[in-house]
Subunit: 160 residues, 2 copies
DNA sequence: CTAATATGAATGAAGG
DNA sequence: CCTTCATTCATATTAG
């Protein structure tokens, strides 16, 4: 990720200028249009094409486009799942509802995705873990131990 | 693929029940060291040995190790190709530019490799600012092209 | 300023 | 090996 694009306009100072890609409104519009047109998982060539198109409105890389579609898909599915879960599981019993409908298609020419109305859903999932300081004292032993490797052991049969 | 069940918070219910394995920093260090030592595709025996080693710093299964190396290999190759493509195709100008087949697959580089001390001299600082007016004719053209089925409008209540 | 949310990016896990 | 999904991390933006 080396495409700088986030140009902050006089915000809090001390910005390392290492921002992530921020799609421009036009880019978002294009991406959403493509997504809503049925192309929810564009192949490589399509991704490149889309990137080229987006590049006219700001710096963007193939990876950004790829990430965008991945996140979009995931997000849509999660929203759907939560919505369905809330709809199909009001409060009748303490049972657990299982959903094992995963229709994976390589190329979604036949739009199997339901049209979603985004923008009015509030999702609350705030959870984060803290990373404790771990002492890496024993690791040094291992590192020192494997300093004797010189042969590149590749192509081995590990079929289970 | 299914080599063994990944050990995950067994007994002693004092863990926040992690869904997937999260390698500890020491484990990552060991794994990376091994990988950089040339062992990029360890056989079954080696995998087991590595797992035993890693287990000293946290619960881990053979499958986790296997997956880790697999993903690591894939990621490395991907970075290679992506980097090569980026080096040979510095194009971020506003206008029509023909680019050769840029084979990009998935996410780009991320981790800091131990060796490999050269940096890419790509300087794509061609950042164009669109003035506040979001009236881009090109976007409109594109949108008009794919207006077919789904509503492209957010917060829409398509009835009738 | 802090908390909550939105979203780009990274990675473990599987499927083919 | 390849692609893809699900989960998590990190950061930007916004609300309080």
């Amino acid at each position: 990720m080396d495409q700088e694009g986030a140009s902050q306009s006089t915000s809090t100072s001390t910005e390392p200028v290492r921002s992530r890609w921020s799609p421009k409104p036009e880019q978002i519009l294009i991406l959403e249009s493509i997504f809503n047109s049925g192309i929810v998982n564009p192949p490589k060539d399509e991704t490149v094409r889309i990137r080229k198109m987006l590049e006219k409105f700001g710096a963007v890389g193939d990876a950004n486009v790829f990430y965008w579609f991945q996140n979009r898909r995931s997000r849509s599915r999660r929203r759907q799942r939560q919505l369905q879960a809330a709809t199909a599981a009001p409060a009748t019993s303490g049972g657990d509802q299982h959903m094992t409908a995963m229709s994976m298609h390589q190329y979604p020419y036949s739009n199997s995705e339901i049209d979603l109305g985004f923008g009015s859903c509030i999702n609350s999932s705030a959870n984060y873990f803290l990373n404790g300081t771990t002492s890496s004292s024993q690791v040094s032993s291992f590192l020192l131990g494997l300093s004797s490797s010189s042969g590149v052991c590749e192509t081995n049969g590990m079929e289970n």
